[in-house]
């Protein structure tokens, strides 16, 4: 019996979908059977980030309304032999097309066959959010070091306290820019974790490759030496119960100006 995690943030654009795709992929790389569920109905993206958009035949609303079976709607990622599946969101309806009961029913149907069910939550705290948390056993809250994102994450933690899940929520701090955190222009990891009072699951550095890989439909975790990918791989290992030290904020991530110049001479 698998465990269902909802990946949520409150604020839009902090990397819920990217995190869902990458954590799911990283877990599949560890040999776990993962089902990603896109609940961002009307504005689905998870399929695009995974490069599975052209394989969609049916979606979650078709499953909920009985037009298609779960097996018909699940899209298999061919890169991972039978390990990674996507249940796409519908596009031409809105978030009211699903009820909490339907989501719970679908998640319960998926769980026995998978190790992990990752539910990609839509931005906001309306019905779409309520639907997404209804089926989950635990939550992964994604935030960035921006005050506005932390505020919204705080609001979401509050809502999760009102509707408690089986397990305490986890926190991911995404899009960390080392130099800004170092010079104190944004909140640092400890401050955010302490402020929200949520257990830290991992940190992910900001990296251009996250965008380029998303454009290519190949999650960044597939790149062995990418720091953002490393962050997601560490998160997957922690979900598996391993104890992995937090990545250090070294200048290696973004080589400084002088170092870059130094590198030119080395090459020469």
């Amino acid at each position: 019996m698998g465990k269902a995690y909802v990946i949520t943030s409150g604020k839009g654009g902090v990397g819920k979908t990217t995190s869902s795709a990458n954590i799911g992929t990283a877990l599949a790389m560890l040999g776990k059977k993962v089902c990603l569920m896109d609940l961002d109905i009307g504005l689905r993206n998870l399929d695009v980030v995974l490069g599975l958009d052209n394989r969609i035949m049916y979606d979650i609303v078709d499953v909920a309304s009985g037009r298609a079976s779960l097996g018909q709607a699940l899209v298999k990622d061919k890169r991972f032999d039978d390990l990674l599946y996507l249940l796409p969101a519908a596009q031409n309806t809105d978030k009211t097309a699903l009820t909490q009961d339907q989501v719970v029913q679908i998640v319960n149907e998926i769980k026995p066959d998978f190790d992990y069910v990752l539910i990609d939550c839509p931005a906001g705290i309306e019905q779409g959010f309520m639907n997404a948390i209804a089926g989950a056993d635990s939550a992964i809250i994604v935030t960035t070091p921006e005050i506005s994102a932390v505020r919204d994450a705080d609001r979401v933690v509050g809502l999760l306290e009102q509707h408690p899940l089986q397990e305490e929520p986890h926190l991911i701090i995404n899009r960390i820019r080392t130099h800004m955190m170092k010079d104190g222009s944004v909140m640092d990891v400890d401050e955010i974790t302490h402020h929200l009072g949520v257990e830290l699951l991992g940190i992910v550095f900001d990296d251009d490759a996250v965008i380029t890989t998303s454009n290519q439909g190949e999650p960044v975790v597939l790149q062995a030496d990418n720091p953002a990918g490393q962050g997601y791989r560490d998160i997957a290992r922690r979900l598996e119960g391993e104890s992995v030290p937090l990545m250090q904020m070294t200048d290696e991530v973004h080589p400084s100006f002088w170092k870059k110049i130094g590198n030119w001479f080395k090459k020469g």
Binding site: L43, D53, N54, R55, M57, Q91
Partner: protein
Amino acid sequence: MQDAAVLKGTNDGYEIILDDEADLGDIYTSLRSLLEKLRTQTASTHPQPISFDIQTGLRLLSAGNRSEIEKIFSDFQLFSVHKITSDVMTKEESNRILDQETVHVVDRIIRNGQEVHVQGDVVFLGIIHEGGKLFVGGNIYVLGDVHGVIQAGFPDLEDKMIIGDVHNAQQVRIGEQYEILDDTNQKITENSVVYVNDLHVLDYGKVEDLKQINPKFFNQIGGVING
């Protein structure tokens, strides 16, 4: 006064003509008495069931009227209704047929998440963005740009075709057959004919070979009648 229900023999069997100017009540009573008469006249040691065609002339029967007639017939064990036909049809039905036999020109952008449904054949001049869907009852002639999902013969007609450049599409579907083009990119060129072959599998051919692929269609181009 003439009877409101009259029996007539045709090559195919028996037809009952219901007078389209008579009152419906008269028709029911007249039909019942006609059937009574027939029952006594056809009574024999080896009775055989008879199925009647009913012709209603210039009158269009509602579902309620039809079930009333079925009810009368249900009182007669050996008699049944084969079909009820009429010389007229509703505007809705005639528009549907018109739609189905027209070649529609679709010239618009179908964006992500939009679904466009068209009955009949389509000449597509627009653009289907990734995630957009065009569902057509008949054939599709693509002159525009397709990056989304395109289906001919919606929902389940396999004798339809897609002609033109769909090599950038995400999926092509005909009837219930579909292909995700990621898997088969090499087979499809810029002037392909996509069709369902005799093994009920999506296949690709060249426009030049249309005569071999679907001779009937080839002979009819310009005025295709949808099945």
